[in-house]
Amino acid sequence: MSFEPKILGFLCNWCSYAGADLAGVSRVQYPPNIRVIRVMCSGRVDPAFIFKGFEVGADGVIVMGCHIGDCHYLEGNYEAEKKFAMVQKFLKLIGMDNRIRLEWVSASEGARYGAVVTEFTEHIKSLGPAPTGSDNPDQTMLTKLKAIKVAASGERMRELVGRQRKITEEENVYGEKTDMETFLKIFNSAIVEEFERAQILISLGEDRKSVKALAVELQIDPSIVLGHMTILKARGQVDFGEIVGITPMFQRI
């Protein structure tokens, strides 16, 4: 049997969901792999939803909203765009960024809806099952995915992504525009840092481990792991355990 991908779609109520309905009314045919979750606005799509979708076995996730400027809620899709970009950056870390898509489909674009879904389904088909999908998901990848979910749900990422538009496009608290380059520098490094920290936390959830062991396990330079430990310790998430030989162990609190 050929591979039938499981595709999860988040559709905004006012444009894309209506477009999908129009596709139905117009009997536009497209592959039956997509399962749709209706949300009021694409801006409602919490990054965690997408990661959760992959966690439970999706091979691809597509988010659809109104065209830029058409948002029923004025600017929700702008926010969706920023969040999606973050999701993409996170998934790139585990090579899964090509399994998500953000598309704008209006209420009148039934045929386009069909075409987008067809194309995306074919695209996912060509990629094959997601490492986190199918009946036998890759446990390491699942753990990494979980780490991403933790990272993206953490305060730091959400503060940054939530303010991005305001401070880079309108004005920040000083009445200036934050330079996009500066912002992205912080944002991009935050993505990597928070991902690594989440991985460390998950790994320490199993057992006490040393910096070196974590470094080998997570393929991160040990000096960076140590740096993360100082932050996680300051956040009250990990603490020093006993010292084995000359190697201190760390534990989760």
Partner: protein, 1004 residues
């Protein structure tokens, strides 16, 4: 020109803070200007301090807190100097106060903003070993505890304003430019550590496990990134083999570093090695050094302990290169040992003992203030007064004029203050405004009416502890007549509420349950005092730092604990009573013991402030040790200076000089001494009163028994040699001159370094080479300790052809005499056994303390001596010229061997310290002090031994017989006496046994 009774101090490290406290205490208004956002400087970054291994934070933080809330000190942080005009007595300084973007008056320092800031920036306080938020405070105990936004990192997201319940974040806060009018200026900007250039032979910046000493200091610190565990940055393991490299960026003529010696690295490296081993016994330190310059008081003993007790290995070599093992990140060191073998060793971590550079903005400061810098970029100072810059009225202290350690910095800070005193003494108190307070309400005998105020501290307490519940609970406790809660009890409006409630409910005790009394008690005490209550009718329950913050995951239990803490505070409050601070009169006169340079400088300083001074000299003439010194190494004319001093002393009407004098008795205590002196050829008795004592009794030159001294006329001392060179120069026939260093120093009898002998030897050698270039001079040494800029003279001597040979302390040179010729047999490093025939042998004899005299005086003044019979100061680091006994100070060689300049600094410092007392008409003693119930005292005298301040003595009481009495002026209220009193006769006000029992008893 009108003099202004205010002083500006630039730089609020330990030096600036000390000077500010001295001047503030003596009645001058102080503007303390700091460029960073909190005070404390480098010392706050340190884990421990040598040579006592004192915890730096423990000793510095009370001082900083005191500086922060001193009513005469106006602390300005985040400032820049824009312009300076005027002259000594009246300067105007334009200062820019850079915006913190946080209102310091509203910020409670709770830290919620920093915890929520999404931007991670390099934590400079932790030397980049950790990260910090863009909204941050330098360190948790910072003074002032005010967060600041670092706009360089801030992206303006606004989270901090959102989460700040105190509404302290103000993004539109502007920079402020102010003009400050002062009479004198002290510059104390400290130093910047040397950082190796991007490409360097140590691999610093490239190899992760190569760190600087200041980074290592943070690694060691309990509050540092690794919580005091010694871990290496590459992988978090404990490094077993740690190499410390000395003289990184110091004594460096390659141009990469600085030519001078940074003075402190030998000691701090030894300390770091010791502490590292102490923290983690796995650590085996090795120190690579050229000379070990442990020249300060008790330094040599420390080095010996490091080697013997902590197994620190010393290797005399400079490392030529470092490579990294790419896999293990270990470091491969190559060096040549003293036997000229090239050795390769692997270490897990390398610590660079980096030198001290002038502060990066030194030139900027020099330009603004119109002072000159020396060739090394430090402030140029007067040859005899190391705190006097090239411009009158502007002084420098601490590492700004030359690298130095903490006690020297503190000494100079006081010395600079002492010099300011000389200019501005007449303006004392003119710019100080005393607060007028209402008369105290009489509450004695009334039943307690307790008011309890419980603080939410934004969400810091309220988020975890059920504050309304605690408030309700507090209202049910006995004698509590009102209980209220506030968002921030420390806010200005709540102070108003507290006052209103005191009046409304006729409260006579107030309890605040909030943060820590260490920072906030004075504020609330002030409030209740303003409402007419005695400030001791106050109690605090710490339900934040020691409750809500440390039990965040157990809100019910935290609430229960908060209730208990409030109940315990109520129980204590029911038993507290008003305490009056006693006041003592002050005799505004001084006594200086010792008529050497130190004593004379001190006396002259007092006299110039119109303070009557009694100068007691045991010899028949003034001058002391300096009588035998002609020049300093740097070329200062000592004899001229001395005669000038003596002339000034003799012509000053405020100074009474007693020569050939002997002190018969000293009675009394701080502010109220009475002394009798026998003086002159006829031993006339004179009795006088004075408020303070400065001990400047000096020391003696060691008279060697070794090396045939006294047996052979060609064996002489450095001082004798100096005299010959400076008088008749009769050394024509002496073609070879050998000098032996450390004679009578650094041995079992005198296990300390005499500090000046190396400089003396080089001074004389250079003089010989100048007069007779053809003469051969050989200096046999153990370590050449030409610290600071003196290093350049060491180099000059070598360039002039003076031969330096190092001998091992275990194989000292042997001197034999063969007829009229002397031969020195020495086992020199790198050269081997040598037999040097010499025409003249010059011994660099050490300095020794007059044992008996010091002991006698110590007993009279009730002050202690150290093992080497020098006088022991109150605190090695922070109170270098004070004695534990108040009102008595020490300066000069009496304290330990030191140079003339250092002695002069100490003299001025002692005067400054003394003036904090003499400037007042009466001194107010601490209220929370001990007292003896004579009816219970058995007169055993145990308490006397326990008192560190000599505040207790036994007297004969008419009714009770022999009993102990406590001198209220001297008691600090530690309670050590009470804790050991077998009859429970001693109690401590503010912490009475009854009060503590009430807290223990808990529920009633």
């Amino acid at each position: 020109m009108e003099k202004v009774g205010a002083v500006m101090i630039v730089g609020a490290g330990i030096g600036g803070s000390q000077a500010a406290l001295d001047l503030g205490d003596s009645g001058l208004k102080v503007f303390l200007i700091e460029s960073s956002t909190s005070i404390g400087g480098v010392m706050a970054q340190l884990d421990k301090t040598f040579p006592t291994n004192d915890c730096a934070m423990c000793i510095v933080s009370p001082k900083l807190v005191e500086t922060g809330r001193h009513q005469n000190i106006d602390l300005n942080i985040n400032c820049e100097i824009l312009k300076v005009s005027g002259q000594a007595g009246n300067f105007t300084v334009k200062v820019k106060k850079n915006s913190l973007y946080i209102n310091p008056d509203k910020c409670t320092g709770c830290g919620v903003c920093g915890r929520n800031c999404p931007v991670e920036a390099i934590d400079l306080f932790n030397e980049g070993l950790a990260k910090y938020a863009a909204t941050s405070v330098k360190y948790p105990q910072a003074v002032p505890l005010v967060y600041a936004i670092n706009k360089d990192y801030c992206i303006g997201c606004g989270v901090c304003a959102g989460v700040c319940k105190a509404k302290a974040v103000e993004y539109d806060r502007k920079d402020e430019i102010i003009d400050i009018n002062v009479g004198a200026i002290i510059l104390a900007p400290g130093f910047d550590e040397y950082l190796p250039p991007e490409v360097n032979k140590y691999g610093f910046g490239k190899f992760k496990n190569v760190v600087t000493s200041i980074e290592f200091e943070r690694i060691l610190s309990a509050s540092g990134p690794y919580a005091g565990r010694v871990l290496r940055p590459s992988d978090g393991d404990i490094p077993q083999k740690v190499a410390f490299l000395q003289c990184v960026g110091s004594r460096d003529y390659t141009g990469e570093g600085q030519p001078y010696c940074s003075s402190v690295c030998c000691m701090y490296t030894a300390k770091e090695a010791v502490i590292a081993h102490e923290h983690q016994h796995e650590v085996k330190p090795t120190i690579f050094s050229m000379d070990i310059r442990a020249y300060g008081k008790d330094f040599d003993k420390y080095i010996i302990r490091a080697q013997e007790e902590y197994g620190v290995r010393y290797i005399r070599s400079r490392i030529s290169s470092i490579d990294e093992d790419h896999k293990t990140k270990d470091l491969i060191l190559r060096y040549e040992n003293e036997d000229e073998e090239v050795i390769e060793e692997v270490y897990n971590m390398v610590v660079l003992g980096v030198g001290l550079n002038p502060p990066r903005d030194a030139q900027h400061l020099a330009d603004k203030f119109g002072i000159k810098l020396n060739p090394y970029g430090f402030a140029e100072t007067d040859i005899f007064n190391p705190v006097q810059t090239t411009k009158p009225g502007i002084f420098a202290c601490g590492a700004f004029s030359q690298p130095k350690d903490i006690p020297e910095t503190v000494t100079q800070a006081s010395a600079a203050a002492g010099c300011v005193d000389q200019i501005l003494f007449s303006e004392r108190g003119k710019l100080i405004t005393e607060k007028t307070l209402p008369p105290e309400i009489f509450v004695a005998g009334q039943p307690p009416r307790i008011g309890v105020f419980i603080c939410h501290c934004g969400i810091n307490i309220g988020g975890y502890v059920d504050v309304p519940e605690v408030t309700r609970y507090a209202a049910t406790l006995p004698n509590v007549v009102m209980s209220d809660r506030n968002l921030y009890t420390c806010s200005a409006d709540t102070q108003g509420i507290i006052k209103e409630k005191i009046e409304e409910y006729h409260l006579n005790r107030v309890i605040v349950a909030s943060c820590t009394p260490r920072t906030h008690e004075p504020l609330f005490q002030e409030t209740i005092r303003e409402a007419g209550l005695n400030r001791y009718l106050f109690q605090m329950a710490n339900i934040r730092d020691q409750c809500s913050w440390v039990h965040m995951n157990q809100p019910e239990k935290a609430t229960e604990k908060a209730k208990d803490l409030v109940r315990m505070a109520v129980n204590k409050a029911r038993r507290i009573a008003p305490i009056d601070r006693i006041k003592l009169g002050v005799t505004k006169k001084a006594m200086v013991i010792g008529g050497g340079i130190t004593g004379m400088v001190a006396a002259l300083n007092f006299a110039s402030q119109e303070i009557e001074t009694h100068l007691v000299q045991n010899e028949s003439k003034l001058g002391g040790f300096a009588n035998h010194i002609y020049h300093t190494l740097e070329g200062g004319d000592v004899q001229a200076y001395l005669s000038n001093l003596i002339e000034k002393i003799n012509s000053n009407k405020f100074i009474h000089v007693y020569l050939d004098a002997e002190i018969e008795t000293i009675n009394g205590y701080i502010g109220n001494f009475k002394t009798t002196v026998l003086h002159g050829p006829n031993k006339d008795r004179v009795e006088f009163e004075h408020g303070v004592v400065v001990v400047a009794t000096g020391a003696k030159e060691y008279k060697p028994k070794e090396y045939l001294y006294g047996q052979n006329k060609n064996v002489i001392l450095q001082s004798e040699f100096e005299k010959i060179l400076n008088t008749n120069g009769a050394i024509k026939d002496k073609n070879t001159i050998v000098m032996i260093q450390c004679v009578g120093s650094r041995n079992d009898d005198h296990p300390y370094c005499s500090k000046m002998c190396c400089a003396e030897a080089i001074k004389n050698a250079l003089l010989v080479k100048k007069l007779h270039p053809e003469k051969e001079i050989i200096i046999l040494f153990r370590d050449i300790r030409t610290y600071g800029f003196k290093e350049t003279y060491y180099r000059k001597a070598r360039e002039a052809g003076v031969i330096f040979l190092r001998f091992d302390e275990n194989y000292p040179p042997e001197v034999t005499v063969n007829g009229s010729s002397l031969k020195v047999d020495v086992k020199a490093k790198k050269v081997g056994n040598l037999l040097i025939p010499t025409d003249l042998l010059v011994l660099s004899a050490g300095i020794v303390a007059p044992h008996e005299e010091n002991e006698e005086l110590g007993k009279m003044l009730k002050v202690p001596l150290n093992d080497d019979n020098f006088f022991l100061e109150a605190h090695v680091k922070l109170r270098p010229v004070d004695f534990a006994t108040e009102g008595v100070f020490v300066a000069g060689l009496a304290h330990c061997p030191k140079t003339i300049e250092d002695s002069i600094s100490q003299a001025n410092a002692a005067v400054s310290r003394a003036c904090t007392i003499l400037s007042k008409d009466e001194i107010e003693a601490e209220g929370k002090i001990a007292s003896v119930d004579p009816s219970r005292c058995s007169g055993c005298g145990m308490c006397i031994d326990n008192c560190a301040y000599n505040a207790i003595e036994l007297i004969e009481d008419r009714r009770f017989g022999t009993v102990a009495v406590i001198n209220q002026a001297l008691c600090k209220g530690c309670g050590a006496c009470s804790g050991n009193c077998r009859c429970a006769a001693i109690d401590v006000a503010g912490f009475t046994s009854e009060q503590i029992y009430a807290m223990i008893t808990g529920r009633l």
